[in-house]
């Protein structure tokens, strides 16, 4: 049986299996941040003048802001002048026309990660696999698959840098309309320097014929990744989108400050799922990704619906609150989250549900698992605005602790300005019981399998709502993350 000492010891032996570095030539802008760097990024991306101006104004605003300190995380401040704000694989100066033009090493990288980019392989490969993939490597998008099939359906799924050039009217209308540049410190920084990301537009009444997926990979050293995702579901449209992230194992901290904006118009539905496995740093807390992300959905239309589902096992520091603004009447927001922190990882994460429209409803299910010396906080806000007649929220936050050196904290914030609103909040904290482990072992499971089974059981409510393709991956990821977490 595992004593806490064993748990501790074996956690330290845990390895990050996406931690390899791809040896590839890159074009990288020298570290440092100023208006010239922003002009350079904008020029490389062949952006129109209005985009550059937008970036510069965000940058000027960022200069007036201070890095937030209210989160329950502790880290050395980032030197924003020591980061490179643009890195791209050299062979890929202009976006590739087809997959054949991509450096085979890149393809290899993605294959190592289990992300098939080759369409024919995907078609012939895993049964039932029907996912269009956009892959972002450092600062550029390297491949978007299934373009033809999507175009036929009228769906636009492309790198955001391409969308800025090809679909400026849509980008102008929606970019920054959910997360404005002045929203917060990291958002302003992202607006100034974002390099790539995915853009999705689903036209009126269209049900996107396949799952869309973006994989983000930070490879280059001392590089920040500032991707930007914008998804618009027009009236009556539906899309399910998956996002995955990994990074090599490096001793330096790498900054990831992304923005995701979702817009759902009348009767539209967006499902957004994330499996985040950024490098978490080593057992002493050296290295790892700082994941400072702003994700927000605007349920702008009546009866619109957005659900965030996330499985987070990576990053040294996480600061992230995927949120829903429930503006349309009868709109609905959902947040399902599993966050695993081990070793020295710190996470301050949760959600915000802002109820503005009548009869809006939201559900929050958050499952936090901590092991080693990790610290995890759930921070959630539910706000019922004046006009939110008959709005409803249900919140459930459960924490599971492995070992006795980790911590779980819950900070629920509730603001109600309408007396007809209903809120429910449930929270539990439990330790993985020695009696549960022994019970499973007595039935023949190894201790490790027993932990996986108990943890998976704990996360069941969330795993049940993951898209099929991701449910398997999430399960595997959890097993890898908790590998060796007992003796």
């Amino acid at each position: 049986m595992a004593s806490n000492e064993d748990i501790q010891k074996d956690l330290e032996a845990r390895e990050y299996d996406a931690g390899f570095v791809t040896d590839i030539e890159s074009d990288t802008i020298a570290p440092g941040l100023n208006e010239d760097v922003i002009r350079q990024i904008s020029a490389i991306k062949k952006e129109p003048e209005w985009m550059l101006e937008w970036r510069l104004s965000a940058y000027r605003h960022w200069l007036t802001m201070e890095e937030p300190t209210w989160a329950a995380v502790d880290y050395k401040p980032t030197d924003y002048q020591s980061i490179s704000y643009y890195s791209a694989p050299k062979s890929d100066k202009d976006a590739p026309e087809s997959l054949d033009e991509i450096d085979p090493k890149l393809i290899e990288t993605y294959e190592k990660l289990g992300i098939p980019l080759r369409e024919q392989k995907m078609l012939a490969g895993i049964k039932g696999s029907n996912v269009a993939v956009d892959a972002v490597f450092d600062s550029v998008s390297v491949a978007t698959t299934f373009k033809k099939k999507l175009t036929e359906a009228g769906v636009i799924f492309c790198p955001i840098s391409e969308a800025i050039r090809e679909h400026p009217e849509l980008v102008k209308q929606y970019l920054g309309s959910v997360v404005p540049p002045q929203d917060n410190f990291f958002a302003a920084l992202n607006c100034a320097v974002f390099t790539d990301g995915s853009f999705v537009y689903i036209p009126k009444g269209v049900r996107c014929p396949m799952e869309l997926s973006t994989y983000f990979r930070i490879n280059a050293l001392n590089t920040g990744q500032f991707e930007r995702t914008l998804i618009i579901a027009d009236e009556g449209a539906y899309v399910s989108y998956l996002e995955g992230c990994t990074a090599p194992q490096r001793d330096e901290n790498q900054l990831h400050a992304a923005i995701v904006e979702l817009v759902a118009l009348d009767d539209a539905e967006i499902k957004y799922a994330t499996v985040q496995n950024w490098y978490p740093g080593d057992k002493n807390g050296v290295g790892g990704i700082y994941n400072f992300v702003t994700k927000r959905a605007d349920c702008r239309g009546n009866r619109s619906k957005v659900s965030w589902t996330q499985v987070e096992t990576g990053s040294a520091i996480t600061w992230k609150y995927p949120s829903c603004i429930l503006r349309g009447d009868y709109s609905r927001g959902e947040f399902y989250s599993v966050a695993v922190t081990t070793q020295c990882q710190q996470a301050d994460t949760g959600t915000k549900m802002i109820h503005l429209g009548k009869n809006t409803s939201s559900t929050i299910i958050s499952k936090g698992i901590s092991a080693g010396r990790a610290q995890q906080s759930y921070r959630g806000l539910v706000r019922m605005g004046k006009g939110a007649e008959n709005a409803r929220n249900y919140t459930q936050c459960d924490s599971l602790l492995l070992g006795d050196q980790c911590g779980a904290h819950t900070f629920p914030y509730v603001e109600v300005k309408n007396p007809t609103a209903t809120l429910e909040h449930e929270a539990t904290t439990s330790k993985i019981g020695e009696d549960q482990l022994f019970y499973c072992q007595q039935r023949g499971l190894s201790e490790e399998d027993a932990v996986n089974m108990i943890v998976n059981g704990f996360c069941k409510d969330v795993f049940d709502v993951l898209p099929m393709e991701f449910a398997v991956e999430a399960n595997r990821l959890m097993e890898v993350s908790l590998e060796g977490s007992v003796g």
Binding site: M1, Y439, C440, Q441, Q442, R443, E447, D449
Partner: protein, 248 residues
């Protein structure tokens, strides 16, 4: 099958078992009775391999192997089964899924192919009938929201599926009403066989009305104080445990 020699066990520095000897052969049904705190549950936990028990001396040999050197799951694979006194709840973990993982871990260890979901379900449905377990329990989370009687019934159901060589039933009768007791005991009786040993730990003689033991042992003061046939249980019921101590 099981040979316990001069077993001394302490918990948190307190001596619980003080030189216990016990031999159990295949096909036999043993009942271990004794007052509260005598060390009955300690004995079953030590055999199953639970943490927190310090074995200061003595040996436990199972099918010729040193049982104490094996991990709990290795003991399970070798055919040791413990029906828990207080079966624990495991939220979100499907009852059948846990059992399937257990059965397949054992099969893998024995070099057999793992059972697929279909084959496993047919085994499970068959065994569920033994203890009249409603099929709806199969898909529920392990013991979650089960009544006391349902939990005990679930233990015997698991025993039926795992087909152990040595089954330890730790106060399986406690908390059961008379109907549940009859059903559980009926299940156990159906599982009696020439190559299986069953050890029942109980406070009460009434269980033995339903499951007739070959041997009855009185465990007190950390040792087997007295061994007899089922008539010993009746005498105990009549005279109490002090009577045993006095007769020695």
């Amino acid at each position: 099958m099981l040979e316990i020699k001069d077993l001394h066990v302490s918990v948190d520095g307190k001596k619980i078992l003080k030189g216990l000897n016990l031999t159990i052969n295949a096909g036999e049904v043993h009942a271990i009775m004794g007052p509260n705190g005598a060390g009955k549950s300690t004995l079953s936990n030590v055999i199953a391999g639970r943490d927190g028990y310090e074995i200061t001396s003595g040996s436990v040999t199972y099918k010729g192997d040193d049982l104490l050197a094996m991990s709990p799951e290795e003991r399970a694979w070798a055919g040791v089964f413990l029906a828990f006194q207080y079966p624990v709840e495991i939220p979100g973990v499907n009852n059948t899924y846990l059992l399937k993982a257990g059965v397949n871990a054992k099969r893998k260890h024995q070099g057999l192919d793992e059972l697929d979901a279909f084959d496993f379900m047919s085994v499970v449905k068959e065994k569920a009938k033994l203890v009249e377990l409603d099929p709806s329990f199969l898909s529920r989370s392990v013991n979650e929201g089960f009544s006391g009687g349902e939990k005990k019934r679930n233990e015997i159901f698991q025993m039926a599926v795992l087909e152990p060589s040595l089954a330890l039933l730790d106060e399986t009768d406690s908390g059961l009403d008379i109907d549940a007791l009859r059903i559980v005991a009926g299940g156990v009786n159906k599982l009696r066989s020439a190559d299986r040993a069953i050890v029942m730990i109980t406070h009460y003689q009434r269980l033995l009305d339903y499951i007739e033991p070959d041997f009855v042992h009185v465990l007190a003061n950390g040792i087997i104080l007295k061994t007899g046939d089922k008539s010993l249980a009746l005498e105990l019921e009549e005279h109490g445990y002090d009577w045993v101590k006095e007769t020695l």
